[in-house]
Amino acid sequence: MTSVRLAEGVLDTIRGHARETYPDECCGFLLGAVEPGMSSDRRNVGTAERAPNEFAGERRRRFLILPEELRAAEARADARGLVVVGFYHSHPDHPARPSAYDRDHAWPWYVYLVVSITSSEVPAVGVFELDGDRGEFDEVGFQTGAAPTSSLGR
């Protein structure tokens, strides 16, 4: 079962972005590193990077990150020794759970973070990964805080 660690400040960055674009959906990249584990990976997300929402229609309910943007983000990440481990987007006035549309456009391995935001409430966050059989999203546990800088064994 994949797990995710979000560095300090990542969630704040994401929530801040979501509030700025509300009532439209915001979107962006999760950059970090993959820490292989005994039975599953851990994704350590060091940074959240904004992406423009290029959806041509109703951005209250849809977002789109163009492939060129992803390539550019991958190049930037690579230059810093990082990897794009996933993406975030917001659901204005909608729960922090992926929709059928999310599922139809998702790939496995990537981590998808969804933040629910309304005009007044504190945003709620959910993190998901698509299962390899393209069936459903699995909810992924996440922690916030600094990753250990060294490990003396597992």
Binding site: E25, D93, W107, W109
Partner: protein, 493 residues
């Protein structure tokens, strides 16, 4: 043969044996990709849709150029070219299809209008606490108009919950009076209401629950002559009818007027719910282009229905209506929800538009409302047991039974109904066994058939007449009429 390299993005490496790149033969981008999924079949479903085309969000780059600006998959390759697979990242908060515009209400609340009065803030507080409703949503409900066709088993719970939710105007179409047999399921009415017109009682009950709701009573039979005018002012139509001609009429009127039709139906222990909106998906006719033969699907009056069943289905219809009005959640557009109460299971069927639908497709030939009784094969519009069958009244049967040459009386109901009560002179041959037991009926004698209300026995009479029996008559009004007019000791049910 040209040799190129395809770079495998991280998410898909697990399906390509962990490889970061794969060398493939192929003269074009498309051929190289086909070779890739031939070598690594696990990649196919992540790259290609069921119709064999590249998934809409998958983009291919040849060296550093998006192939959509070249010749797409026909782009030719040279030795040493590198193809990259990059997804667009797309998603959204609702549904599986493109984002649907919110329903435009016939009378939309003016922007920036005043807050709700205090008593409404309290009444709807549990709605206001939901981000998906909130003040804006509650105002939309208040400005909305919903028409319920039928105030019976389905209409009762739907009306109650839509009124509770604060829908501003609820129209009701029903010309019936409250009958004792309704109270097993039609929870809008009480015992003291028996004999009263349903709409009069419903209006009072709804207004007592929520005085803020305006109830418009359409105490008339819906027909091709009035349907368009009756439906026109409403935003959403909830179909709770109990007969096929009206179902088709309501569907057709909704398609012609461009209104969503929240469909619900019940039969014995099963129910169905869907939302038909021809602007965005299939209509009722796409699912059922023709009605079933009139005697194939009995009404609740004939087949019976579990009382609790319309309670659930009616509330599901109200739920869909509220979602359409709020513009939230995923409505049952293009989805037929099937409920089996005995198994306690829900299933879903995907509904597609019929590209040849006579009503809602680009090739539609029907441009207006038609004669629905004729369409459904019911000559007298579904009221009563016409069908041109010879009949006998209960009084006349009583007289003939007391006379010198009484007819043979056949009860065509089910054994459990026979046990409730039957005519002393009768013999039980359930209708479904009639065909096998025809030999028991001597052709010389006169025959009279009866059932509970006269519908089933009318069809059985037709059946025997068609077989060549010359002297067969249907007891008009069935055993219920017999109990009313001849022998009150026989129980009615």
């Amino acid at each position: 043969m040209t040799r190129s390299t395809i770079k495998i993005p991280t998410p898909l490496r697990a399906f390509a044996g962990g490889l970061r790149e794969v060398a493939v033969d192929g003269d074009t981008v498309g051929a190289a990709m086909q070779e890739l999924v031939r070598q690594h079949a696990g990649l196919a479903r992540h790259l290609y849709a069921a119709d064999g085309r590249l998934r809409s969000f998958v983009t291919l780059y040849l060296n550093d150029q998006d192939v959509r600006y070249l010749a797409r998959e026909a782009t030719p390759l040279r030795d040493g070219d590198v193809v990259s697979i990059v997804p667009a990242i797309a998603g959204g908060s609702t549904g599986a299809g493109p984002a649907l515009p919110m329903l435009t209400l016939a009378s939309a609340p003016p922007p920036g209008s005043s807050a709700l009065p205090t008593d409404e803030l309290r009444r709807y507080s549990r709605h206001l606490l939901l981000p998906e409703v909130g003040l804006a949503g509650q105002k939309r409900l208040r400005a909305a108009k919903v028409l319920l066709v039928g105030a019976g088993g389905l209409g009762s719970p739907a009306a109650l919950y839509l009124a509770a939710a604060g829908v501003g105007e609820i129209g009701l179409v029903d010309f019936d009076t409250v009958d004792l047999s309704n109270l097993q399921r039609q929870v809008l009415y009480t015992t003291g209401d028996v004999g009263q017109p349903k709409l009069k009682v419903a209006k009072a009950r709804i207004e007592a629950l929520n005085p803020g709701v305006r109830v418009v009573a359409h105490e008339e039979r819906l027909s091709s002559a009035n349907a368009l005018d009756v439906l026109r002012p409403y935003d959403v139509v909830v179909d709770g009818t109990d007969n096929f001609p009206t179902r088709y009429l309501v569907n057709d009127a909704c398609v012609l007027l461009g209104k969503p039709n929240v469909y619900g139906s019940i039969y014995r222990f099963e129910g169905q719910v869907s939302v038909f909106d021809a602007r965005r998906g299939p209509c009722y006719r796409c699912l059922y282009p023709e009605p079933p033969p009139p005697d194939l699907v009995p009404s609740c009056a004939e087949a019976g229905v579990l009382g609790v069943l319309p309670g659930l289905i009616g509330v599901l219809q109200a739920t869909e209506a509220v979602k359409l009005l709020l513009g939230t959640g995923e409505p049952l557009l293009g989805r037929l929800l099937l409920y089996d109460a005995l198994a306690m299971q829900f299933r879903e069927l995907k509904l597609n538009r019929n590209p040849e639908c006579v009503l809602c497709s680009p090739r539609a030939t029907q441009k207006g409302l038609i004669d629905y009784a004729a369409f459904c094969g019911v000559p007298d519009g579904g009221a009563g047991t016409g069908l041109g069958i010879p009949e006998i009244t209960p009084e006349a049967l009583r007289d003939e039974l007391a006379g010198p040459d009484p007819p043979l009386v056949i009860d065509v109901r089910e054994p459990n109904e026979w046990e409730i009560g039957h005519l002393d002179a009768a013999r039980l041959i359930p209708r479904r066994h009639l065909a096998e037991r025809v030999d028991e009926l001597t052709r010389a004698r006169a025959l009279v058939l009866y059932c509970r209300s006269g519908d089933r026995s009318a069809r059985a009479t037709r059946f025997l007449l068609d077989l060549g029996f010359s002297n067969v008559r249907n007891l008009k009004g069935g055993i219920n009429a017999w109990a009313d007019r001849v022998d009150p000791r026989v129980p009615k049910y």
